[in-house]
Amino acid sequence: MAESRTPLLDELEKGPWPSFVTDMKKLAQRKPAVQDALGQLEMSYRDKKGHWKHGGIVGVRGYGGGVIGRYSDVGDVFPNVAEFHTMRVNQPSGWFYTTEKLRQLCDIWEAYGSGLTNFHGSTGDIILLGTVTQNLQPAFDALSEAGFDLGGSGSDLRTPSACVGPARCEWACIDTLDICHDLTNTFQDELHRPMWPYKFKLKIAGCPNDCVAAVARADLSVIGTWRDSIRIDREAVREYADGGLDVERAVVNRCPTGALSWNAEKKELGLKAEECNRCMHCINMMPKALCPGVERGATLLIGGKATILQTAFLSWVIVPFMKLEPPYEELKDLLRRIWEWWDENAKTRERVGELIYRKGMREFLRAVGLPPAPQMVFRPRANPYYFWWPEELEGNGHKEQG
């Protein structure tokens, strides 16, 4: 038997799981670029060194984002991947497709690219991997014809993304799909023409479960929430208890704020709504008995992401509650004010969270015209992250802290 040319990659085909190596080998039979991509990857595994360079000018007419230039630094050995650019395609809100659209996408990439796809990249886009510079414009034209547009890349607004929200999920407190679609259409220039110090990510989750992990990854997180009280179906709570759920231990004692109480005799759940911080634990544990309140909107948070100039950040609350109804002007105006301040003040490659960290939450809030609120904590359950301006402190001898 002939010796394999990819012994290290072959290891990734073992075991019970689907393997990208197997898929690539299948595709390599008709796509020389994929054959070379496998060869280069094997070399990388062997040398423990990446062989891709990225950047430079590649794009389509009028666009500054959506195409990531990728070149091989061993193009003499693997000429079919000397150019192997990636196209990012704006995904539909909530990642819903018809099979017809998926087929169209695959046909386009078969015709103009390597055929390799990644559904989806970490930002949320459809990732089409591997094409040459001269195919970029024809691929883009074909994508446009099929109703698709490019997503963001570089120092621009990255493709907004949202959880499936009201389409599939009973916890959605806001219409994540519509908000995502509306913001994407409103901010087309911000998405396609990179003018900022660095990238800006916008993610929308329908409830605090945050299935798009916005709080850890987005520069601005929109998280659905409620202002009134969790609704409790008392009979359904009793059914959970009768069915063997230890409500006291598994639900009440794990409420992080002590908002819940349990009357074991009557099998009754008590709730101090004002103590609830909407962590979703009790709702997730007893979905048939508990659900979000009826006065719904969103909490806005800023500054998440493992950044470059500072350390990793989770987001900070900047608006505890905003009602979100079309056309979402309040949210859009706030975004514009945030971008203006960040654009004006940030260093190159400084994300908005890093700028707030450097300049202070107080500066930021004043610049964008937001009032301070007790929910603005630097670290959860630690210390406040807002310090009053000296002139706002009435007749006192207090010295400003921090």
Partner: protein, 67 residues
Amino acid sequence: MAEAASEELKARVLEYLAKVDKAKSHDIAQALKEKKSLVDAAVRELAREDRVEFLYIGTSYVKLKGK
């Protein structure tokens, strides 16, 4: 819809870009002593007209098309 950029500013942006290899919009605005938002609008139009292009080296820059 954003207002149309002035032709005069677009010409000055092109003139500036002719003198440098690449620039961030922020630097163009500072060099021309113009508001960043006006320069952004001018660059956007120039991009749509295919007269400037974007370059990515760690962050995005603007440069004259084909320069």
